[in-house]
């Protein structure tokens, strides 16, 4: 008898810095059994992709948006995502190199988290855990359950 695997949770991450994309991809590898990370070079690419998503097949559980990106920055991407009914409530995190209070307030206004990029190894995993904390309780529960089963 074949048993179908439950779908992975889809995390969409937009950042124009290839080194940051590599860093986050590496850190998300720990969750790869449960989470599929898709990366984009800017907000336009991410928004173009979500237009192609079949909501019955997979739905993003989290958006991670670098603030400073060419063509469409993270704040404007977040603003546009919130205008789309099916993504208005999906957890999102603005991912920034600076802890500017104005950016944190912007994130809060659009019901998003705000996380400052790590400076060194000790902060990397702490920050990825902080990002995952923004997922819904249902997704977090599934991640924990599957991680327990795989240990």
């Amino acid at each position: 008898m074949t048993q179908s695997l439950p779908p992975k949770s889809l995390v969409l991450y937009a950042d124009d810095d290839p080194e940051d994309i590599e860093l986050v991809s590496e850190a998300f590898y720990a969750y790869s059994q449960n989470v599929e990370l898709m990366t984009f070079r800017d907000g336009i690419e991410l928004l173009n992709f979500i237009e192609t998503i079949d909501p019955f097949h997979a739905a993003p559980c989290l958006f991670i948006l670098d603030i400073n990106m060419p063509r469409l920055n993270g704040k404007e991407t977040l603003r546009r995502l919130r205008r789309i009914e099916s993504f208005a409530e999906v957890p999102a995190v603005l991912f920034s190199t600076s802890s500017l209070p104005a950016d944190a307030a912007f994130a809060k206004n659009f019901n998003a988290g705000f996380v400052t990029k790590p400076l060194h190894t000790k902060q990397v995993h702490m920050i990825i855990d902080e990002i995952v904390e923004h997922c819904s309780d249902e997704v977090k529960k599934m991640i924990r359950k599957r991680n327990r089963n795989s240990n």
Binding site: D66, N68, N73, P118, L119
Partner: protein
């Protein structure tokens, strides 16, 4: 962690781990460049600058350089936009 603006001397007197915590919480990103294929990131912190030289980007820090001179901005000038100066920041 203190909310008071630190002077360059006070920052230099902090233990290294605390320096990184302060920089992470209060530093404002200015720009990034490559030196010998290694990443270097410049932050503004209160009235001075901290430049981080990485061995491995965002993982292993080789050393930092601090300065209160704007000369340190020179290699990053192409990344600083008028809009950012007006807003007093460079986002990342």
């Amino acid at each position: 962690m203190t909310k008071k603006a630190l002077s360059l001397t006070e920052f230099m007197d902090l233990p290294q781990e605390l320096q990184f915590q302060v920089l992470h919480k209060h530093g404002v990103y200015v720009g990034k460049r490559k030196v010998d294929n290694k990443s270097v990131v410049l932050f503004q912190l209160h009235g001075f600058y901290v430049e981080m030289f990485y061995k491995q980007y965002r993982k292993i820090i080789d050393h930092i350089i601090t300065s209160d001179s704007t000369d340190i901005l020179q290699p990053y000038l192409d990344q600083i936009h008028i809009r950012d100066l007006n807003e007093g920041k460079k986002e990342g």
